[in-house]
Amino acid sequence: MREAIREAMREEMLRDQRVFLMGEDIGAYGGSYACTRGLLDEFGPERVRDTPISESGIVGAGVGAALAGFIPMVEIMTINFSLVALDQIVNNASKLHYMSGGQVNVPLVLRMASGGGSQLGATHSHSLEGMFAHFPGLTVVCPAFPGDAKGLLKRSFREPNPVVFIEHTALYGARGEVPDDPEHLVEFGQASMVRSGTDVTLVGYSGSVHQCYRAADMLSAEHGLTADVIDLRTIRPLDMSTVVSSVRRTNRAVVVEDDWKFGGFAGEIAAQIMERAFDWLDAPVARVAGKDVPMPYNRNLEYAALPSEEDVVEAVLAML
């Protein structure tokens, strides 16, 4: 996965001189998840810019450079630190096109690593994808597979508006086919059906797609049930058509995400399924999500706080 992300940035920098990267330790250190390793040597410190620990400052500087015609990518080391830069993301990046009556636009790519599961405790284990999806004006990309990550990130650099590109830390080592074609772009707002079945629709994004996939394996092996597994790929724009047409066939849906269930994005998907497929449902839409607690440090407690494939299977069996 990290190579696919690196390759996308490299190709876009070669393609367009306006693209440059900045962030904490993305240069000599190579990025805290090694996504930018080698790029400093290839492109130099002007286009691969190490910054001080100053999230609001560097995101705001990205907004300013974007207003002046550049296409900056700002790497925020983890999504947890994006909370310090929310003023720039929410008040400036997402709103300036609208507020200015369409006079300015902000072609800014914000990359950040998300997710728990590494015993990093409550301040370093957030999954805030749904929070960003809440804001009109932002595009929120959450890839689950390396090939999609490359195509979506390349597409993000072509987007004339701010894109929040969120990478799950547990997926950096994921393997998969990655197209070499430098014009391979994955369009926003197009979910991908990664597995087909007839009994239930499992919906996820980012890391939770893999839980859905493993749950589908277990349902098939242990219970003789088959599932549609849908990878949303972007949660804003959101491809509900793919979800709704699947649910109209399977008549059951489980939405899976790492984020807290209370007020989370799974609730949005569940509500939209109800609005558009209520008469096809044989059971209430289920949500499998993070438990409503700050992330604990203890390994067993952390595991209990995160959704698992077993939780997904249990939710499916409960709705039969």
Binding site: P52, G60, G64, F70, Q88, M99, N161
Partner: protein, 337 residues
């Protein structure tokens, strides 16, 4: 260049008679425009928050006239004066305040968010100090593009206590960016006096980021102009950012909602004696650049323009409800290649 002290900033010859005439005209235009805004607010034509700039005109006019057309400006929410000084049409600003389609932002921005990209006026920003990192980014873009335009960032003393002030100044300093930081210190962050807000003088705080930092009389348009010229020359030569603290005063409350319980009428009157418009008028008359007849003609011209702005705004239609979703994002049209 000494750092961290109040140092003399006047450089070269004062601006010629024509330019002084222009300064006087622009300051009068801002004054009368703002007074008209207050009237329109009480008549319900302007809604929302309205922050007026009367008293501070010399800052906008002196600083912005020192810029080139390709220099870029970002400013705070008390922004009508800056837009007018940049040459944005009073008609379009008033129409924006009236929330009409003829406004600078088609009625989507309002008083605090005036934009005019055609004049490199990249916006008024209403979260205190939130635009300061943007100015850093503009400076970064100037450097990356290899061009010698500069960014002017105007903000108030209230912004100095915000973290984004410090992040923005630090980044601009370490990357040697062509940004002129222009602090309009009007003595109050809303109603809290400056002395209760900051542990040190503004220009001294800025100087600690290793950039030239000066404190000037922000009610003297000639001094503001001269100081900003000096600052721009410094940043264009690749020497990094430059900081100006201009001491000024706002005659009206923080916004139209402000009962002004935190200051006395006597204090306001004291500052009015130093009024920037009266001061320039007196010195121009003394220098033979103006007489009372010229001055009255200028006032009449300005008043006619402000009346015309109100008429234009009133005649401009409200945006149609079908445009509610316009401009959320710019349309992706595929690759430019």
């Amino acid at each position: 260049m000494s750092v961290g002290q109040a140092i003399p900033t006047t450089v070269g010859e004062p601006p010629d008679g024509d330019l002084q005439q222009q300064f006087l005209y622009e300051m009068l235009l801002i004054r009368r425009f703002e007074e008209k805004c207050a009237e329109m607010y009480t008549r319900g034509k302007i809604r929302g928050f309205l922050h007026l700039y009367t008293g501070e005109e010399a800052c906008a006019v002196g600083a912005i006239n020192a810029l080139r057309a390709d220099d870029k400006i970002v400013t705070h929410y008390r922004d009508h004066g800056h837009a007018l000084a940049r040459g944005v049409e009073p008609n379009r600003i008033m129409a924006e305040l009236f929330a009409r389609v003829g406004g600078t932002n088609e009625g989507r921005g309002g008083s605090m968010h005036i934009f005019d990209v055609s004049r490199n006026f990249l916006g008024g920003y209403a979260i205190v100090a939130g635009h300061m990192p943007i100015a850093t980014g503009l400076g970064l873009a100037a450097n990356l593009s290899g061009e010698d335009w500069a960014a002017l960032c105007i903000f108030g003393d209230g912004g100095v206590g915000e973290g984004e002030f410090h992040e923005a100044l630090n980044l601009a300093a370490i990357w040697k960016l062509p940004v002129v930081w222009f602090c309009e210190n009007n003595g109050y962050g809303m109603g809290v006096p400056f002395d209760d807000s900051l542990a040190n003088d503004v220009y001294k705080i800025a100087a600690s980021y290793q950039m030239p930092s000066v404190r000037i009389d922000g009610m003297d348009v000639l001094e503001v102009y001269s100081a900003t010229q000096l600052a721009l020359a410094h940043v264009r030569e690749g020497n990094g950012p430059y900081f100006i603290e201009a001491l000024t005063y706002r005659y009206r409350g923080h916004s139209m909602a402000d009962p002004e319980l935190y200051r006395t009428k006597a204090e306001v009157e004291e500052y009015r004696k130093r009024d920037a418009i009266e001061r320039l008028k007196r010195s121009m008359i003394a220098d033979g650049l103006l007489d009372e007849t010229n001055y009255q003609a200028l006032v009449a011209r300005v008043d006619a323009e402000v009346d015309e702005a109100v008429a234009f705004a009133d005649a401009s239609p409200e945006p149609g409800l079908h445009t509610l979703y316009d401009h959320i994002t710019k349309e992706y049209e595929g690759d430019a290649e």
